[in-house]
Symmetry: C2
Subunit: 339 residues, 2 copies
């Protein structure tokens, strides 16, 4: 079952190698009858063009790199990433691209591998996610002429020049906090994060919501956490002594940790303290109590990142594309709005 070549397909179909190539690449100006004949042969033989030859001749690999710079310990632990990855994989499959995975656990690994992928021509473009505020990866990558799109807004300093797909974190946090205010809570805390712009935007939305309702933010009620359940648990423990009536957690994992901390103190959610999360991960609905949270369209985020990158690669990188997806508040029991 030896691998066939273009030439051989051409022989079988009675045309030249070029014609077969044109059929495969959907060129116009092929006589329908010929196209038909060639397509039949391709189907019958199960022919697949050799991808190395293709990229060499066309300097296009149809491989994208999915890079997560500086995975601290297991930032991967947040179920958000498996979900974006799934979405990206799916979109790549649909568009006949192959997603290559590049996780960097140390600066050395990042340096060595990014060197390789940037210059070897293996990759047509990059999707960058899980970037942190003080990572230098993006600015390094900008020096090469490899197209990329980022998932999540880049820091304001160079956001204008960078294509990205983000969700409206600020609006989401605004919705969440407003919801709590409207329910009558006044001492509203926040379990914040400090790794990326999503955290900053959610913080801004939280503050705007309170300000718009004439409430002042009590800084003693704002605690910084990482994006994990354990982080939420710890942060909530320190927050408990301040006796908040409600708390906005910047992710569902954090919210779940907070709920656990509240319970361990012998208090109830939402009766004693209301909790709102962010993300609407699958586990939010099954949590106890079911979590009021801000739903972000993770699947669309991943799909759009791929499609935007394809667009950039096929057409022109200028101007940078900026996509911000809407989010919505999902009201469940943990905020005390239902039953």
């Amino acid at each position: 079952m030896k691998r066939l070549t273009l030439e051989e397909i051409g022989q079988i179909a009675g045309v030249s190698r070029s014609t077969v190539s044109r059929v495969i690449n959907d060129h116009p100006n092929i006589r329908p009858a010929v196209r038909q004949r060639v397509e039949d042969v391709i189907r019958q033989t199960g022919y697949q063009p050799n991808s190395a030859a293709r990229s060499l001749a066309s300097s296009q690999s149809r491989v994208f790199g999915l890079v997560m710079p500086s995975i601290l310990q297991s930032a991967f632990a947040d179920p958000y990433y498996p979900l974006v990855i799934q979405a990206i994989s799916h979109a790549c499959n649909q568009h006949d691209y192959t997603p290559g995975l590049f996780l960097f656990q140390t600066p050395e690994e990042e340096e060595k591998v990014s060197q390789r992928i940037v210059a070897s021509g293996l990759i047509d473009g990059l999707i960058i996610t899980a970037d942190t505020i003080n990572s230098t990866f993006v600015s390094k990558i900008q020096q090469y002429d490899i197209p990329f799109v980022q998932i999540g807004r880049p820091p304001a300093s160079n956001a204008a020049a960078i294509s990205y797909v983000d969700v409206d974190n600020e609006a989401g946090a605004y919705l969440a906090a407003s919801h709590l205010v409207q329910l009558g809570y006044r001492r509203i805390g926040q379990l914040a994060t400090a790794h990326n712009t999503a955290g900053a935007d959610r913080d801004a939305g939280f503050r705007h919501a309170l300000a718009d309702r004439g409430l002042e933010v009590d800084e003693a009620l704002v605690k910084v956490s990482d994006f994990s359940e354990a982080g939420g648990y710890q942060a909530m423990q320190t927050l408990l002594s301040r006796q908040p009536e409600a708390v906005f957690a910047q992710s569902d994992a954090i919210a779940l940790g907070a709920v656990r901390a509240i319970r361990d103190r012998g208090l109830n959610v939402p009766q004693d303290i209301a909790v709102v999360g962010f993300d609407d991960m699958p586990l939010a609905a099954n949590a106890d109590p079911p979590l009021t949270t801000v739903r972000q369209p993770i699947n669309r985020t991943g799909m759009l990142a791929v499609e935007t990158l394809i667009d950039i690669v096929r057409t022109t990188p200028e101007p940078a594309r900026h996509i911000v997806l809407p989010v919505e508040l999902v009201i469940r029991a943990s905020s005390g709005a239902v039953n």
Copy 2:
């Protein structure tokens, strides 16, 4: 900053293209002085060989496919997979391989994409994980001559011919169940799974442990779950009416769901019901109560899968490699053995 070619590097270093190629590929029989000179030029220019040209000439892409056939909904939700993926990514980075990601959510996607990867020459070998008992992916892939290693034992019918890396699931479950027996529990339940051979092996270990201690397995105390927290919660709910004294859950996520179900019934862990999990995920230690569980070496599993595949690709596929890694019991509070 145009991309250089072998020829140009050769010109700068005053040697032929072949000599540069030899240096890059670590061939013997190069005069040290020449090697030095060439290496210097390569370093100074930041030259990276074009990977398409390389694969075309050598028919080796240095790309591995990481495939997860038939991702049911979000089998990905189990934190196990992010961890293996991280390990595989890391090992690939070390060995200058690129991991391509292939997640299949539908049979059509599987069919279409696997067709492409198998015949296009894009990929040197496959690492298959998350395969389910009644998946046909592996048997399809066997018909091509693409090397692969599986993570997790294949069904006995063709395990002998397939290279795989697995952990000793049976021994692990045996340890877990024996631990419960030794603590004096008699009515010991199991939250089992039915998707893969890991579940079957853990079931076998559980049964052997009870049998070896002269206990009979009460089939009413064995409930089938999927690998999720929610699944564990549900399965435990149905198990509760049978009043088990202890329960062995086939994964930590299941165990956590079980703990939640037990609590919701107003009972305590481990006082009323002891719980043991499997995996020792990061969250097991932070759980409340900390989870007694069987630790499996996920990181080594991923690394060895990569290294085994490299070995197979470089040498000969025969005979199939079978690696089974040891596991260990980690005793914490949930089984009632401490405090």
